[in-house]
Assembly symmetry: C2
Homo-oligomer: 510 residues x 2
């Protein structure tokens, strides 16, 4: 009855209802019919472990995606390998339109972050997808998968590695395509699909694939699906991403662990040394104290500043949800913070704590640092500022374990292993294709669409520009509280459904 | 031939040769005869896991020691249990002398520090005693146990948990007694043996045993065997120990791990908070900055100062061996440092580093701290200074996981879990029995005997004073580079042999 009323309303109002297009309603109806089948397909996909280094399982993932494409009538399905051997391939497919001159390529990645399964909540396992009737934070419980006649509650969540980051992207893009074809809609664009297998490992060989297959990867736009939507739950389009680089910092004390009674107060303690060194890098207000850290940043344009002003502030909501009352950078809102370069400690370790702790003076102390970059920053230059800072604190800096000769020469020794990295990227909001994409996303929702000059997260989008001279726009779909990169990663089903509608609209855009 | 020359020389010179007594030579000869058998007994003993919480294995250890006593003709062998159930017993035995009015009790402990067997050198395991032809630091290799006709090189080392700390004590005390009896020597003292099973777990119930068995534990002196000799390799007598207490400090960020891209710069990072908090506690010259930390310390007497002056300086040798050139407390020598209270980080952890590290903002950061105490310090007062300092850095301090209400009220939250602990203890060097003991130890060696007012390590010696009004003097025997409390713990055989000679001499002292 309710459906009938909506359909009548739709006929009366023409193409829009509550700000949503007729097409969106039809896509939604198809999805409702297919959702049990898709859930089954998605959980099979999530059950295949997907750490980029696990070659055997990565091949299984790639084969699974090829099957998904085949079922949906996608053509020219290929595995695109970089020239370096042993790297997971990108999975490619296409759906060309007779006479179309323009092309959109949809990107997602099928590899996931490393897992520590001991840290997952009881009953959960990274590669055994599990359905919960909400989020763990809301004290949800595990429920059975619904039978084919049982309704699916969109507030349910699937817990699994890559449930959101980023197999949700692969799933929603391919199902959007299936829905659009099933509903019989026409397109203006050729569509291509490109699913990377090495993103969480740093996309070190992506450029080799782009170079090798450049002719078939030409396009007017790459639409990148990765990361979460805005914390307000509103849909989001992002025109840039932060760059990323890492540094692993280790400081040294005695060559062997010492009894803290017999040597405490005398033997240098690397945990104290590391604490002081890290404390010298960032003050109590979240400001990085490394010289020139905020130099090189290109200021926002007026249009970008305006977009930032319109971003709904999730700060109070997020603090409430996350359980703290003071942000790290005490001067800045979340939206502002993400438009600045950052220095973050991902982890820190020296000997053991808790029950494994013993009365010793540790031999080393290590911090894993990540550097996020914004337009204007060069990742190598940013890493060099860090190296210089450590030297200025009196440390001899090496990239190897210190030798006996070095130990006899320098009172303070730090090993700094700098990762490869990449710079930030940003596409102009003013481009006609960007405006058309915004209109397409707006056609799927009655709510505000959040437009961000840059997302906080990082993707190696600069390589698309560098190797293909391509434009990229990011359209993330996951719930913001998805525990991406950590234990208990999850996707809220409504976000998966919304993603399908969004991508279908983009596939049909002007 | 060589032995004959020595014997003739001994006859000519009376009771002393090269500063060593005739008795020492005879004890040594007996030991040389017994050493294969003792090694076999010792390795069987070391093979029994001995973490204080492992009730079943601790019973096996206690039974093994009872057998060792029985074989040596020791009488009145008992297991002394505290009134609290489930605690490993002390193993007790005695060897009374008709007409003797004075008693010495020999103390060692048979439990060991917790183990992380993954950290032990390849081929080694904490409870599979292994023989090496030297130390790992000297690139020694694993060798076969010697056949009964093969000579034993005293530079060989046994690698195993408690090889030095402190089953070596049990072994050398009981074998010293065996040797003395075998050589037919007389004694002035009743001898009692007391081997504790809970020392590494903090000796929380030792006082219950001392109280319950007070009548049979009266003595003129407790001789405590634990810890290493001086780094110079010289024998050592110590008249006191530092006290010890612990604190586990955890600071809090978000309730769940966050993506460092989407929240980096904004979400509070507990690893940075902990770094700053620790950095506020100790400066770059090793001085503890906590208010009043060095107050309450009772200054050394003139005699004690003189003894400290005569301690050979191992600083240069130790730095060379340990691979650093600047001590933590830049103003103080090792001997001086150990006579001051200390604050040490035993371990530090926040999320993961290295390959397990991922792009997150951790939820918590923890440091395990230990506080060493000297005469004048009260351990609770010393812990309270730490609590006060954390509060002064703007932290709300709790001893539990913070509640949601607390998270909404306080910008900085620290959990500080304070352990039980004990104070330092010191016996006067001027007592006649102390002077006699010094003379006895000197009779076993041609080298200097190092006299220390206090050792750096901690033992709960205050309880002997408090519950039995007893005097204690420590006579450690282990090599200084024994990796006590850490992976790759070991004992150098010569140290085991020296220990036997030392204890035999003490058993026969005036």
């Amino acid at each position: 009855m309710q459906k009938l009323v909506i359909w009548i309303f739709l006929l009366l109002t023409g193409s829009q209802i509550f700000g949503q297009s007729k097409e969106t309603f039809n896509i939604r109806a198809y999805r409702e019919k297919q959702s049990h089948q898709w859930l089954e397909e998605f959980t099979s996909f999530l059950s295949i472990p997907n750490i980029a280094g696990d070659t055997v399982n990565m091949q299984k993932n790639a084969a699974f995606i090829q099957q998904m494409m085949l079922k949906r009538g996608i053509s020219n399905i290929q595995l695109l390998y970089p020239k370096t051997p042993g790297i997971p391939p990108a999975v490619y497919g296409e759906a060309l339109v007779a006479g179309a001159t323009k092309t959109i390529i949809f990107y997602a990645h099928y590899d996931g972050q490393p897992v520590d399964s001991t840290k997952w909540w009881k009953g959960l396992h990274p590669f055994k997808p599990t359905l919960l009737n909400g989020s763990l934070e809301q004290h949800a419980t595990i429920i059975n998968w619904p039978g084919s006649a049982e309704p699916i509650n969109p507030e349910w969540r699937i817990y699994s590695r890559s449930a959101s980051d980023d197999k949700a992207g692969v799933m929603s893009i391919l199902s959007a395509y299936e829905s659009m074809i099933a509903c019989g809609y026409l397109r203006n664009f050729n569509i291509k699909f490109f699913f990377e297998g090495e993103e969480e490992a740093g996309s070190d060989h992506l450029h080799e694939i782009l170079e090798k297959y450049a002719p078939q990867l030409q396009s007017n736009l790459w639409v990148i699906c990765d990361g979460p939507v805005h914390q307000s739950g509103k849909k989001m389009v992002a025109f840039g991403v932060r760059g990323d680089a890492h540094a692993e910092l280790t400081v040294y004390g005695s060559k062997r662990p010492l009894h803290s009674g017999h040597y405490g107060n005398w033997a240098p303690n690397p945990a104290w040394m590391l604490s002081r060194l890290l404390a010298s890098m960032k003050n109590d207000h979240g400001k990085v104290l490394i010289k020139g850290f905020y130099d090189d940043v290109i200021p926002l344009s007026e249009k970008e500043k305006k977009a930032v002003m319109e971003i709904p502030s999730p700060d109070a909501q997020m603090k409430n949800e996350l359980g703290f009352i003071e942000q790290e950078n005490t001067d800045k809102t979340l939206a502002e913070s993400l438009l600045m370069p950052s220095l973050n400690i991902n982890g820190m370790q020296s000997a053991n704590v808790g029950k494994l702790s013993s009365n010793i003076i540790p031999t080393t102390a290590t911090a894993s640092l990540d550097l996020r970059l914004v337009p204007g920053n060069d990742f190598k230059k940013q890493q060099e500022k860090l190296v210089k800072h450590v030297k200025e604190q009196g440390y001899f800096v090496t990239d190897k374990e210190p030798t006996d000769a070095e130990r006899k020469r320098y009172p303070k020794i730090a090993k700094l292993v700098l990762s490869d990295g990449y710079n930030a990227q940003r596409t102009s909001m003013d481009l006609p294709i960007a405006q058309n994409l915004i209109a397409a996303v707006k056609s799927t929702t009655s709510e505000q669409v959040v437009l961000m000059p840059s997302m906080g997260g990082s993707l190696p989008l600069f390589v698309f520009e560098k190797y293909l001279n391509a434009k990229t726009i990011s359209v993330p779909i996951a719930n913001h509280d998805n525990n991406q990169h950590a234990e208990n990663e999850n996707i809220r089903l409504q976000n998966l459904w919304n993603g399908m509608e969004t991508f279908a609209a983009i596939m049909m855009m002007k």
